[in-house]
Symmetry: C2
Subunit: 142 residues, 2 copies
DNA sequence: GACGGATGGTTGAGCCTGTCAACCATTGCC
DNA sequence: GGCAATGGTTGACAGGCTCAACCATCCGTC
């Protein structure tokens, strides 16, 4: 390999390009959270909670990869806005089940819808490119 | 369109798959930052600063999309570790130029190298898939 | 050349996340 | 019944981030 142009592996370049998309996405999350009157961690918490399927706080903590004491605060915020409720579990009086309220379910579904919006850079790809991207990502992450 | 299977557009599915990759990357950033004794914002700050090209703090603030008072704290941390230096600018005595130290440049380049490491999901793709991914992303983000 | 507005940077208050240690109530096992 | 383990809360602490206030300095204008 002569000392010519330093060749980057294709995956290398792809990863760098994805880095740009990541950066923009971070800002997007902050913006969307604010639109819903939430902080980003609160948004992730609400998105994680399935309506119709109450879970103990511990489960949310592990799902969010954080400490139990952390979710206490997050749930405090969500509960203050009437998005979730703490409810005692009948089989174990230590645990508190998290129940998404009616209002919380509505906010959550709108929120998920907005988060699912494909960013313009991807949306403007040709149909073939979109399929190709999906197929490659399926093989990588499916 | 019969009420059959709800079809997702290819870009839609691709975006959701990227969401998974994003989540894992967030954790990775936290981990790498800790390895270098930095916090994630400090890591981004150091990565942004080019050695051999001192910039005023204001420039770093805009590059990081945050407030000036914020970078004051970040630079305090980096300076405490001897990674960057504040140096007065001769043409304007208000501005403080940020200079990456010798040590800072070393840490920075190691750090960038680690961050550039292609995650295993992408690295394990076939050569064709890697090229296809790169080409599509070039068209989307180039 | 002095004045007044704009600019770069710091400080402090305030709110948020996130971790850790300590604690309480409860459970389940021996 | 005793006792370790568990779920959740609280408080302390380290940060990030924004805003308002402030100081020093610059610069255009009169």
């Amino acid at each position: 390999m002569a000392e010519a142009v330093k060749r980057r592996a294709p995956a290398q370049e792809a990863w760098e390009l994805l880095g740009k998309l990541f950066g923009e996405t971070r800002h997007r999350i902050v913006r969307v959270s604010a639109e819903f009157g939430l902080t980003p961690p609160q948004l992730f918490a609400l998105r994680t909670l399935e309506p119709d399927e109450p879970v103990p706080m511990r489960a949310l903590a592990t799902a969010l990869h954080c400490d139990s004491s952390n979710v206490t605060g997050l749930v405090d915020g969500l509960e203050a806005q009437g998005l979730v409720e703490r409810r005692g579990a009948e089989h174990d009086r230590r645990v508190r089940m998290l129940v998404v309220t009616e209002h919380g379910a509505q906010v959550r579904s709108r929120l998920i819808e907005v988060m699912r919006e494909v960013p313009p850079q991807l949306a403007s790809l040709s149909a073939e490119d979109q399929r190709a991207l999906r197929d490659v990502l399926r093989r990588a992450l499916g």
